[in-house]
């Protein structure tokens, strides 16, 4: 008999993803050096792109992997922003230290919020998170020390002491924004590659089946929700560190921090690491063209998202990756024939 038995190996990375890792390293290096090659205007746009990437990654992680569709992520953006202002103004912390603490405290605050929101499932969970964000918005409007309903600016002294010069401050905010975008992608990759990631996709595909195999759905979802909240709070702190002014309506804005994020993720491709990045880049390209269209711009974004959801529910990245079998970030597992080990059957 000349029949052969083939050996298989499980691969996590592909040639494309190895190439992409190299390219990603080069892009990150180039972006880190941006203060030396880009003007302040470009840096400002890049900062925005970075925090939108972080927000989009976190929303995609919740909705695309953990099955938690939230319309209330603005709760954590606002909480992070307000905590940063409170810690810097009343706690006397350096804004960067305050930013980190604000992210941690937001994650801790997400725990009791989750205990309430998790009593609802599916679509009702989505609206429940929205109610909670509204409660926070209305509550922060009641604090006169934080400017009440009209908001508060970061005092000039704190802004001045942040870095040696106004330019230095802009650079510092830029690097922090880059770090947050990078960390958000790294967090999603690390989670997906861990046993938690396996648990998440199992729960998403079938909760009863995964629970019968011993996956603890509730604890897994809770952990993902808290991590996403912390990262979203960190982004919120950064957003208002750049804006230098915060008000309840800006901090807890559903259209800025959730609607646009949802649209970018849906258009780019939900349930992938690449999709949110593509969506955010498209969103900013579109904004360059359509910035003056006012509300027509939001109508356009909403329409594209609705059409995408109806006809290509995996978004642009879903179309590309299924057409060309691509994967830039090594999160999946592939089966491949091992050419070196091929035994003759006796």
């Amino acid at each position: 008999m000349t029949d052969t038995k083939q050996h298989y190996v499980v691969e996590r990375s592909t040639r494309t993803s190895r190439f992409a890792s190299g390219a990603a390293a080069a892009i990150i290096l180039a972006l880190a050096l941006a203060p030396w090659w880009a003007g302040l205007g470009e840096l400002r746009i890049l900062i925005e792109i970075f925090y939108y990437i972080a927000l989009a990654q976190m929303w995609s992680l919740l909705a695309g992997y953990a099955g938690l569709v939230s319309i209330g992520q603005q709760a954590f953006v606002g909480l992070g922003g307000y905590l940063l202002f409170a810690l810097a103004i009343f706690g006397g912390l350096h804004p960067i230290v305050a930013l980190v603490v604000a992210g941690l405290v937001t994650a801790v605050a997400a725990l009791p919020i989750a205990l309430v929101a998790f009593r609802l499932t599916g679509a009702y969970f989505a609206i429940g998170t929205w109610v909670i964000a509204e409660v926070l918005r209305l509550s922060f409007a009641q604090f006169p020390a934080l400017g009440g309903g009209s908001g508060i600016s970061l005092p000039a002294g704190i802004v001045r002491d942040m870095a040696g010069s106004p330019e230095g401050r802009q650079f510092l905010v830029y690097w922090v924004a880059l770090a947050i975008a990078f960390a958000s992608i790294a967090l999603v990759l690390a989670l997906l590659r861990s046993r938690w990631g396996l648990a998440m996709t199992a729960i998403r595909d079938s909760r009863p089946a995964s629970e019968s195999l011993g996956v603890e759905a509730y604890r897994t979802k809770l952990m993902v929700y808290v991590l996403a909240a912390g990262m979203t709070g960190l982004s919120g702190g950064l957003i208002f560190l750049q804006k230098l002014r915060i008000s309840p309506d800006a901090a807890f804005s559903v259209s800025d921090w959730t609607a646009l994020v949802i649209f970018t993720v849906v258009i780019g491709g939900i349930g992938s690491v690449e999709g949110p990045i593509i969506g955010v880049i498209l969103f900013f390209l579109l904004r360059e063209v359509a910035a003056d269209w006012g509300s027509w711009y939001l109508i356009l974004m909403g329409s594209i998202a609705v059409v995408t959801m109806l006809f290509a529910p995996r978004g642009i990245w879903g179309l590309i990756s299924s057409r060309y079998d691509l994967e830039l970030f090594p999160v999946g597992r592939r089966l491949r024939v091992d050419p070196e080990r091929r035994d003759r059957k006796e």
Binding site: V116, Y124, I127, G128, V131, V135, V254, A259, S295, L298
Partner: protein, 288 residues
């Protein structure tokens, strides 16, 4: 006395919230589907009434003759053409499509009607009131809205439990697959359910336009009130929805009595309190 008055006004306000909520409750009951644009549909109906009054000078209440069937038709067509495509195992498509619709409707209304606050003038009905003992007055309009809510919910209940179509809707709510095996066409049943829910949205929209100021951005808040009334009352129970609306209305009225800034916050907190203490709601009939 102020407090008694606040509670009475809150109960009456609850009637409007029950009208907001019963369409949402009916659609969830039959299709397990939550329309995030529900509040924006209410606002759309209100603007429809505004346009009719502007064009014809009709008394606002009579616009319902056109708005209610108009919304029902819109709901029927919208469900058949758009929303039926999103239904399935995955909850993402219906949620995200209706969320997209919500943002689109708000911004189209903003372009067409501007952000100016609007109200339908209801003339004598706005000021007329019935004096009750001890200086307490019940406004005729809030009373009319409350009684309408009773009639609408009673009518829906009779329809669901006493008619053949209602029986099919309830059967679909219990088990979609089996109903299909029995020869019913789910797509058509869903379209009927949405048409009925949209007719109620039409009634709610006209009443809202007569009772309060509105602008293109107020839809999401109406969605949240409707949702809170449904959850407080218990999923699937129409009378529960009325109880939920009343509790929400009373909580808001008491909050407003303490401080005008607390009105909405007090309603949300009452909802969260019920959610923590009794997540299945007060009069539950089904499991989410």
């Amino acid at each position: 006395m102020d407090w008694v008055n606040a509670v009475v006004q809150g109960v009456l306000l609850g009637g409007l919230y029950a009208l907001f909520a019963s369409g949402l409750s009916l659609m969830f009951g039959v299709m397990r589907f939550v329309n995030i644009a529900h509040g924006d549909f209410i606002v759309m109906a209100a603007y429809g009434a505004l346009v009719i009054v502007g064009a014809t000078g009709l008394y606002p209440l009579w616009t319902m003759i056109a708005i209610v069937p108009g919304m029902a038709l819109l709901g029927f067509v919208g469900q058949r053409v758009l929303l039926n495509r999103t239904l399935g195992e995955d909850i993402l498509p219906p949620l995200l499509v209706t969320f997209g619709l919500s943002i689109i409707i708000q911004n189209v209304l903003l372009e067409v009607f501007s952000a100016d606050s609007q109200k339908l003038q209801a003339g004598w009905l706005e000021t007329a009131s019935i004096p009750i003992a001890g200086g307490l007055n019940i406004g005729l309009m809030p009373l009319l809205i409350f009684v309408s809510a009773l009639i609408v919910i009673g009518g829906l209940q009779t329809f669901l439990y006493r008619t053949p179509v209602g029986r099919v809707l309830r059967a679909t709510s219990d088990d979609q697959e089996t109903v299909r095996l029995m020869g019913a066409d789910n797509a058509r049943i869903f379209a009927y359910a949405t048409a009925i829910a949209s007719a109620v949205v039409g009634i709610a929209g006209v009443y809202m336009a007569m009772r309060t100021n509105f602008d293109p951005s107020v839809g999401p808040a109406r969605l949240l009130f409707a949702f809170e009334a449904v959850i407080i009352g218990g999923l699937g129970s129409l009378w529960g929805t009325l109880v939920g609306g009343i509790i929400l209305g009373v909580a808001q009225a008491i909050g407003a009595q303490i401080d005008p800034g607390f009105q909405i916050l007090a309603g949300h907190i009452a909802f969260l309190f019920v959610l923590v203490m009794r997540p299945q709601g007060l009069l539950p009939r089904m499991r989410g």
